[in-house]
Amino acid sequence: MIKRLLVTPSLCIGCRTCELACSLTHQENGKPGRSRIYPLEVGKEQFVPVVCLQCDDPACVKSCPVGALALEESTGYIRLSYEKCIKCRACVAACPFGCSLVDEDQDKIVKCDLCEGNPACARFCPTKALVYK
């Protein structure tokens, strides 16, 4: 059974713990990574955490000219191979949800990798607005 990151916006309090967790989990050479998740304020005290949906028919994978992005059948998530990525930003432009991002500090393309099967955002979310199951 493939696990998914479930988002319940009504539980989100906009505390941004997920952002911090994501950023620190993806730090490299002492530089925090750009967060792959964004709790966006859509109304008064209303937040929607936006994060890669790991689509079934992903535009990012389709757009990648060198096959650096691939949907893994066994885990159901889209993996970005940094060995292959040439930072052309095709996926950034193509993702209809804006969930492929450019991390200018680390000079690389980033997208949610579900922390390879143990997403930090879900672990640290104090309100269970994010659940991985």
């Binding site: 916006p9 009504s10 539980l11 309090i13 964004y38 966006l40 859509v42 109304g43 005290e45 209303q46 929607v48 936006v50 535009a59 389709k62 757009s63 000219p65 060198v66 096959g67 650096a68 191979s81 060995e83 292959k84 990525c85 040439i86 930072k87 052309c88 930003r89 095709a90 950034v92 432009a93 193509a94 993702c95 209809p96 949800f97 804006g98 969930c99 492929s100 991002l101 450019v102 309100t127």
Partner: protein, 260 residues
């Protein structure tokens, strides 16, 4: 299958090259012309290693690991005295070609070469002719640039020395270059590279740019992606998705909800 590297056994898979295993296992071997996005090429020769073939009665040889397919019980030594000397010589030669390239200087220094024994190229640029840019351009399906000429005088260039008609301004060449020697410039919504100007597609809402018009058009056409995917930038798309989702959410009193 298993291969032995520097005395330790590692798992390897059919069809892999020795360098793939070395990189996966984070065993340090220099390589300037190998990148996973493109087929191995064997130009820089820095990744050469010594191999011993059990199956061939202990035959030993020096091979480029980027091009050598793994096989069961292959023994690999990554830093024999001879290989180290070879890398030193190669870096010595590269320093003569590109005396000013920081990446080459740094790597050469790691191998104890601080100054080249040869006569450096006058007016040298930083291109080591690894061919990554031309190979990635071909891999992208654009074939905008290629290796021109041959021998010591070969260079990376555009067809007929003119602005390349097949370029999309995607910057794959810029990003893959190990010595960062391909120059480009983004000014406002205009990208200049290879003597050509490209329009960067501005987000219809905020004006932020990500890729060029030509690149977007090729993606739409070649990859069969809907045109409107490219109308907005990632930031605005995230905003939109949040707003759209919010319409579906039944918002309740936060404290109540959290308590429950």
């Amino acid at each position: 299958m298993k291969i032995q590297i520097n005395g330790r056994w590692y798992k390897a898979f059919e069809g892999e090259m020795v360098l793939d295993v070395l990189r996966r296992e984070k065993i340090d071997v220099p390589a300037l012309c190998a990148h996973e996005a493109v087929e191995p090429f064997g130009s820089c020769r820095l990744c050469m290693v010594e191999i011993t073939h059990e199956n061939w009665g202990g035959w030993k040889g020096n091979v480029t690991s980027c091009l050598y397919p793994v096989e069961d019980k292959l023994r690999v030594t990554t830093h024999t005295p001879k290989i180290n000397e070879l890398r030193k010589m190669i870096l010595n030669l590269l320093l003569a070609r590109c005396p000013n390239a920081p990446e080459i200087q740094k790597l050469a220094e790691e191998y104890g070469v601080t100054i080249t024994d040869f006569v450096p190229r006058p007016d040298a640029d930083d291109c080591i002719l690894c061919g990554l840019c031309t190979r990635v351009c071909a891999e992208m399906g654009f074939y905008a640039i290629s290796i021109v000429g041959r021998g010591y005088g070969r260079e990376v260039g555009t067809p007929l020395n003119e602005a390349p008609p097949d370029c999309t301004g995607c910057l794959a060449c810029v990003n893959i270059c190990p010595t960062h020697c391909i120059k480009y410039e983004d000014v406002g919504n205009v990208r200049k590279i290879w003597d050509r100007e490209f329009e960067l597609v501005p987000c219809k809402r905020c004006g932020k740019t990500i890729i060029t018009r030509e690149f977007a058009d090729r993606l739409i056409k070649d990859k069969n992606l809907p045109e409107d995917y490219f109308d907005l930038c990632d930031d605005c798309k995230r905003d939109d998705i949040a707003k759209n989702m919010s319409k579906l959410v039944i918002w309740q009193d936060k404290k109540e909800e959290v308590k429950r």
